[in-house]
Structures are given as C-alpha cells and as structure tokens.
C-alpha cells in the first residue's frame, strides 16, 4: 500500500487526502492545528463555486477546472446549493454590468420582473440584473469539517507534529510553504459575516462597482458572508477602511443590512503565484499543491485529483511544474 503524508489541513490538504484515500493510499495528515478553524485561510472563504463569474478576470483553466467542483463536493456529502449567481450594479455603474456580460457569456439578462421572481427581497432595487445559472455555493466551514470527519472515519491519521516517513509527501501548506516556494505571495482578503432575519437570499449576489466590488453569500441561520478585499499584502490586520467599504457596499445592495448584526470580521492572506493560477510542483517525492489564490473551494478538487494522479499514475497533468530547485 502506498503511504502518503499530506502537510496542511486546509482545503487543499483535505481535498488531496480525500483523493489519495479514494485511490487506496494510507494517508497521514500533518497540521499544527488539530481541527479546521480560523488559523487557516480556507476558513475565511466565501464558498462560491462560480467558475463562470470568476472568468471575468481569471484565466481559462479556472473556468474549466472549476466546473468539477460542485459535483465533487456533493459526492463528499457536503451540502451544495445550485442556484446560480446573481449579478447587479447600482444605477450609475450600469456599464459595469455590460462589461461583465461581455466577459461572462453564459448569463441570462433579467428585467425587474425576472429579478423579483429569482430574489423577491431584491425586487425593485435594480432595474436589471444578470443571472449566471449553473453555479453553486457551499458553506466552507461546514465543508471543511465534513471532509475532515470523513477522513477520520476512513482511518486517516491526523498528527499535529511533523515526522514519519512516506512514499510521497504532498505539501499543501499554503502561504506557510513560502520557506520552499519563493515566488509564492500573500494577497490579503478581508470579509465580514452579518446576521439578519429581515432579508432572504437564495444565491450569491455580486455587486459590481468600479472601486468596491462586493459579493454576498447566504449561509444557513440567517448568516451572510460579505467578501472580499483583494490587497497585495500578507498583512493580517483588518483595516477600518476595508470594513467600511464592505459594509457600505452591503448597505447599498439593500438597506436592511444596516440593521443586521455584525457577527464577525475576518482576514487572511491567500497564497498566490505570479500568474494567480494554482500549481502542482513536483520535487522528487514531494508534490506541492499551492497558489489556489481566491479559488480554494473552486479548484482544490481538480488540483487534488491531478496531484494524486501525477504521483500514483505518474501522469503529467496541466498546471504541473517539474522543479529540481
């Protein structure tokens, strides 16, 4: 039996471990933290599985590989809501909606009636909108816990200390792997969680804005995740300016958010390579899976599959970089 160790129990590490177990490996996961939690970048994710919308700025592999994500998460027993994405813009930023529509061809245009049908609580707030069907969202924290528990039940060992030997090591440590991956950088993201029982949304809503783009992802129990800034820094301070911007944008989306409870303000730095695309990097018997940037839950399933195949079947998947450094 092939023995594999996975370093890092964030979304990348847990997905890789899942794919390895599925291929019959004996897996140990090493992470200083025993359970998924606020120490990891994945904890702060939005959980949008929106490959088409991401294609507005992201490169083609993100759109294509991201399409695997919703099915994969559902197969692991994670609740996935497939209700598409709603895209809106405020009055004077309507041209942003046209630009977005050009870049994301798989959309439907909504008139006020269409919007009211799709999201009744936003009726009358926007005179037009885009609906991108075929996209999904999940609760990232629930998803991490679900994967972790499944791996526990499959007999995977979780260790808080490094050590032991294995045939393959999968380094999924995110930004902590900068000690060996020198071109990895941090891109700071700040988010907020609100609670409101006065508004109901069925799907993620993106508010396009030239300065402060916002997305709102509904979660169970009246929670709404607001995200996310994208700042070239690995600083982890939650700045007043960023939080003001996020909250103002939410208020602009619907004034009812002004009365919401501010539950949480989070921040972390996403690991990214210079092209903002993820990489599978092979150095001997160590395989790095890193640089998932803002696409952790979207791309980790595909990357995990490809990394497992690369190691066990000696394939040469895309996004794989041979490296002898």
């Amino acid at each position: 039996m092939t023995r594999a160790q996975v370093l890092g129990a964030g979304v990348a590490g847990l997905c890789v471990a899942t794919e390895l177990v599925a291929r019959g490996c004996e897996v140990t996961v090493h992470d200083p933290a025993p359970r998924p939690g606020p120490h990891g970048c994945s904890w702060w994710a939005g959980g949008m599985l929106a490959p088409l919308c991401e294609g507005e700025t992201a490169e083609e592999p993100v759109v294509r590989l991201g399409r695997e994500a919703a099915d994969w998460w559902e197969r692991q027993g994670v609740r996935v809501d497939r209700r598409g994405t709603l895209v809106v813009a405020l009055g004077r930023d309507r041209s942003e909606l046209d630009r977005f529509a050009r870049r994301v061809p798989e959309h439907e245009r909504l008139d006020p009636g269409g919007l009211a049908t799709l999201e009744p609580d936003l009726a009358g707030r926007f005179d037009r909108a885009l609906h991108v069907p075929g996209e999904a969202h999940l609760d990232p924290r629930a998803a991490l816990i679900c994967l972790r528990d499944r791996l526990d039940r499959s007999g995977v060992t979780f260790a808080t200390e490094p050590g032991g030997s294995a045939d393959f090591t999968f380094d999924c440590r995110g930004l902590s792997a900068r000690d060996v991956l020198t071109n990895l950088r941090g891109v700071k993201g700040e988010m907020a969680v609100l609670r409101s029982t006065d508004i109901h949304l069925s799907r993620p809503v993106r508010l396009l804005h030239p300065r402060v783009p916002l997305y709102v992802v509904p979660r169970p129990d009246g929670l709404f995740m607001l995200g996310a800034t994208q700042i070239e820094s690995d600083d982890r301070r939650r700045s007043v300016r960023s939080v003001l911007e996020l909250l103002s944008a939410a208020y602009a989306l619907h004034p009812v958010f002004g009365e919401a409870e501010l539950v949480e303000i989070g921040v972390d730095a996403r690991p990214a390579f210079p092209d903002n695309l993820p990489r599978i990097l092979r150095r001997g018997h160590t395989i790095h899976v890193n640089g998932l940037f803002r696409h952790g839950f979207l791309l980790a399933p595909a990357l995990a599959r490809m990394a497992a195949e690369a190691a066990l079947e000696d394939t040469q998947p895309e996004l794989m970089h041979e490296d002898h450094g």
């Binding site: 490169e59 950088r185 820094s233 600083d235 092209d275």
Partner: protein, 256 residues
C-alpha cells in the same frame, strides 16, 4: 524625455493596480515598453514588510518606479506616505496625489501646493497630480515641482481629454516644463491626442488593467503614444475649411 535629470526612453507610464495577476502586469509592461511604473504605497502598506512580495514584483519589471500617494486626502497623510515611499523604494521621486473630492477624486489644489512645498523642501522630486488649471500649475512650479501631471479626466473614468482648451492653454503657458497627462484616458486615440498637443508623456492604469487583454491594450497605447509624439514633432498642418486637392489639377485655366 528628461524628468528631474533622468533620461527616460519611453513616453508611456503605467500604473500597477487592478491587473488580473502580476504575470499579466509584467506582460503588459513588456509589450508596451513602458519606462516608468507607478505603485501605490498606501493601500498595500500596513506592517513593516507586508507588501514586500508585490513590491519585489514591481521592482522586477526592470523599469523606473514612481511611488504615489494614492488615496491620501490630507497634507499630513500625503507627507507621511511620501516619506514611507522614499524608504521603501529608495527614490526621491514621488507622484503626489492629494484628493479633495471623494466622488471625482479631484485633486485638492490647496493641499497639493502645500504638500508639494513641504516635500520639495525635504529633497523630494515631486510629480504632482493636478488639474489643467494654469494658476495652480504656476503655484506648483513655484513650490519646487519641475514636472506637472494634469488630468485628462477623473481617475478611472476613461473619458479622455475632457477639457481640450484647458490642456492646450496649460501646455502653451509652460513650454519648457515636462508635462504628463495623467488619469482619465480610456483609449489609445486619446493618448495620441495628448501627445499631439505636445504633452511629453501619458500615464494610465485602468484602461490597460481592466481591458479584456491588458497586454494587447498596453501595446496599443504604446503605439498611439509614439504616433502622437511623431505627429507633434513633425509640425502638423493647420486645419482649414476650404478643400485643397492633394494632386495638382492640370489644364484648369483659373484658380477659383
């Protein structure tokens, strides 16, 4: 083009914000041949070396870095940011932005002059982001600025040269001062027009970074800047109302 005693080959300057990725940013610089990169110090700051990875990427472009004080709304903020930029990038150059109006991001002319004087006295070489106002331009020069950066239109609007008369007047008033049209450009034709007016260079960011293919757009701007500069230097013809045939008309007895 000579800016504060430094010769710069390219008359195109690009900002470094809002690109899909640093790799795309680098490709845009490569294809445009831009000679100067502006970088915002304020937003990425926070923590001693927090933005270091991105700044290293900017330094790695191999072009001259012009740090800016984007997002500063007061004299004090701008001075502090400039001092931080000088340490981080080891350069006396600073593109000075003091914003006076939140919606249009219009420069605050009073704060701008005051900050320019403080920085120039402190040894900075100041590139003030200003309007096309001639009086303000004179005050900035008095304050110690040797380069001016008038806007074409408000930042990020892509409206082009909204006050052609003002820009023409400004250019004519200070013929020897290097001037860069900064902000508001959306299309290469607008950059060409600025160069045809006799401006020494253009600086833009959003038009390239937010294009569907930033590198191609950057190259488009580079060619337009070159075309506009060539046209300016070639002493263009004056427009006139009466048509004049460009081929000689033979066998015609009288001139009308």
């Amino acid at each position: 083009m000579r800016l504060y005693g430094t010769d710069i080959a390219s008359r195109l300057m690009l900002g470094t914000a809002q690109y899909p990725s640093p790799a795309v940013l680098a490709e845009a610089f490569r294809r445009s041949g831009a000679g100067i990169a502006t970088v915002s110090v304020r937003r990425e700051a926070g923590g001693e070396r927090a933005g270091a990875a991105f700044w290293d990427l900017v330094r790695g472009l191999g072009v001259r870095v012009l740090p800016n004080t984007a997002g500063c709304h007061s004299v004090r903020e701008a001075v502090t940011t400039a001092q931080m930029a000088r340490e981080l990038f080891d350069t006396p150059w600073i593109k000075l932005e003091v914003i006076g109006h939140a919606d249009t991001l219009q420069p605050d002319p009073f704060g701008l002059v005051e900050t320019a004087r403080i920085l120039a006295d402190d040894g900075f070489q100041v590139f003030p982001y200003t309007t096309e106002d001639v009086v303000l331009a004179g005050r900035l020069l008095d304050a110690g600025c040797e380069v001016l950066m008038p806007w074409g239109a408000p930042i990020g609007t892509g409206l082009g040269l909204t006050n052609l008369y003002g820009l023409r007047t400004l250019r004519a008033q200070f013929p020897g001062v290097p001037m860069v049209v900064d902000a508001g450009l959306g299309l290469p034709s607008q950059a060409a027009m600025a160069m045809e007016l006799g401006y020494d260079a253009v600086l833009l960011n959003t038009a390239v970074a937010k294009a569907g293919d930033p590198a191609a757009m950057a190259e488009g701007f580079a060619r337009a800047v070159e075309a506009g500069r060539l046209a300016f230097a070639a002493d263009p013809m004056e427009p006139r109302d009466m048509a004049a045939p460009s081929t000689p008309v033979l066998g015609q007895a009288f001139l009308e």
